[in-house]
């Protein structure tokens, strides 16, 4: 018991099996893990919102938030407190139960997917064999929060936003599925930890580059290099569309729909939508890092090994988030028909061709 307390939380759970009589202890440790993840994610959201605004401001040569706390560090906390203490306004004609349920769904689904994300060796709440499928399944549920919220408001702008969001997210999920399929083919596993472990040793082993001919695919790795690099870029753009980030923020396009699906939301329910959006952005950044950028492995295999895996994971995820923020600052919003055209006529066919190429290479080189 004492030695369990002294151990790091993720190693301690491995030491206690669930089917033993001490399943209560196991449950307690699992709950502690979940609590740890939630607290860290919540703090990171606060930091990311500020980072997002600061980067945006820097691109436009403004200062950004700089009043609350040093360099505006406490700005997000102040905003969150303001939202908490405001009154919740429920529109008279709304479906009250679904109106309150919608932000809850959005927030819970955003957090649920983190259950299978490995942030360092063994640092994962649940290391299941079909982790990729789990993430796909849960992230496809996030759209319900937006759709129900838009419909339950009983107002036309939220409804338009909800419809756009549903169509957009369903469209881009299809191409995300195909993109992930190529990664599954080359790594031969649906377990996120194993996918990361096949990319160990340096950036030339990462799925995005694959420049190392000494793996079991041999020289065929060089055939895969451009294909998988393209898949990585496509995954990033699809992630933008999936999280309703600019330039694909049609569901909340403020110049057309006021604020889209969240027009009628105020106070804590609005905060929940906002929170869910940033947790989702972090999730897709983390998925990009896991699938294409080597997870917690260092970019070179000499000299930097003393740094822990979680540091590299955080650094890479933060870099992807930086790209998210830069795209928001630089690229103008797409028109809705352009968005649909890009999803169905560009991303989908090219990712299907990529799946054909990758599966062909994997079959002909005999690697499994």
């Amino acid at each position: 018991m004492i030695e369990l307390i002294n151990m790091p939380i993720f190693q301690a759970v491995v030491g206690v099996a669930a089917d033993e009589p001490n399943w209560g202890l196991w449950l307690l440790l699992k709950l502690l893990q979940v609590l740890g993840f939630v607290i860290v994610l919540a703090l990171l959201v606060a930091a990311l919102v500020l980072a997002d605004r600061k980067i945006w401001a820097a691109v436009q040569m403004r200062r950004g938030p700089n009043v609350v706390g040093a360099f505006g560090l406490l700005q997000t906390i102040a905003d969150a407190l303001k939202f908490f203490f405001k009154e919740i306004v429920v529109p008279a004609g709304s479906d009250k139960f679904l109106f309150i349920l919608a932000p809850l769904i959005a927030l819970v689904m955003a957090f649920l997917a983190w259950a299978v994300i490995p942030v360092a060796p063994g640092w994962v709440i649940s290391d299941i064999n079909i982790g990729v499928l789990y993430v796909l399944a849960i992230s496809s549920l996030g759209v319900y929060g937006i759709m129900i919220g838009g419909w339950a408001s009983n107002s036309k702008y939220p409804f338009m936003g909800a419809l756009r969001s549903a169509a957009q997210m369903v469209s881009y999920e299809v191409s995300i599925g195909f993109i992930i399929l190529t990664v599954i083919f080359v790594t031969g596993s649906m377990n996120l930890t194993e996918i990361v472990n096949t990319q160990a040793g340096g950036f030339w082993n990462w799925n995005m580059f694959r420049l190392n001919p000494s793996t079991e695919l041999g020289l065929a790795n060089y055939i895969l290099t451009p294909v998988l690099f393209y898949m990585g870029v496509l995954f990033f753009i699809s992630a933008l569309a999936e999280t309703n980030r600019p330039p694909f923020d049609l569901p909340e396009a403020e110049s057309e729909l006021v604020a889209g699906y969240q027009v009628e939301y105020s106070s804590t329910p609005f905060l929940m939508f906002f929170f869910a959006e940033y947790v989702n952005i972090m999730l897709l950044s983390a998925m990009m890092v896991i699938l294409f950028l080597g997870g917690w492995h260092a970019p070179i295999d000499i000299g930097v090994q003393f740094l822990p895996g979680v540091f590299w994971f955080f650094l890479k995820t933060a870099f992807i988030f930086f790209l998210f923020a830069m795209v928001k600052a630089i690229v103008p919003r797409y028109r809705y028909d352009q968005l649909m055209r890009l999803g169905w006529k560009v991303f989908l066919p090219t990712s299907i061709v990529a799946v054909l190429i990758v599966s062909g290479v994997v079959v002909f080189t005999g690697a499994t």
Partner: protein, 199 residues
């Protein structure tokens, strides 16, 4: 013990939600209950150790099919009170179908349990769910699998053919032509003297 409790909770929720799909007045609530039913069914699959099927159910039915249901139901501008007026006249037919299904289920259960019940044994315990599926789906049942895919393709093309109509005088956008535009043919810069206008 815990598995049994979980089974009864999930099964109860599934049946209650399935009932509410039919009983609730608001069609959007019906779809929400349908989603709850799917979720409970996925939970039952997980209890049986079929986690791949469970996630597939969530992904395909909850993540895609039910979204489209919700989409259509929200868009429909039908007075559902009006629609439900003749609701009870369908009751006899519904009762007959339900009765037939019930009798079939009873016979199925009786046939199954009269031999002591067949325990579910995995064909190869070293294989994960996913590998087991892949190993039979693309070898033993490859024909049936491809036939299913082909039927879906035909249905898709059929839906497109049915809704595609050629109208006269429609101005379509040509994305390539739009993107091939240059600054010279799109914008004309005119230097206008103050107070004169283009005239």
């Amino acid at each position: 013990m815990i598995a049994a409790i979980a089974f009864y909770i999930l099964a109860t929720v599934a049946i209650a939600a399935a009932f509410m799909v039919v009983a609730s007045r608001n069609p959007v609530h019906s779809v929400m209950f349908l989603i709850l039913t799917f979720f409970s069914a996925a939970g039952l699959f997980i209890l049986m150790g079929a986690e791949f099927l469970a996630l597939l159910l969530v992904m395909v039915y909850v993540g895609a099919v039910a979204v489209l249901f919700l989409f259509v139901v929200m868009m429909l501008d039908v007075d559902f009170v009006e629609l439900k007026k003749g609701f009870l006249s369908y009751a006899p037919i519904g009762a007959i179908i339900a009765g037939i299904l019930l009798i079939e289920m009873i016979f199925l259960g009786a046939a199954y349990f009269s031999e002591g019940g067949r325990p579910l044994v995995p064909a190869d315990p070293t294989m994960s769910n996913l590998e087991a599926f892949g190993a039979v789906l693309y070898t033993k049942y490859a024909g049936a699998f491809e036939a299913a895919g082909f039927i879906l393709l035909v249905a898709m093309i059929g839906a497109i053919v049915l809704t595609l109509r050629d109208r006269e005088g429609v101005r379509r956008q040509d994305a390539n032509a739009q993107m091939a535009r240059t600054r010279e043919e799109g914008v004309e810069l005119v230097d206008i003297e103050p107070g004169q206008g283009l005239g």
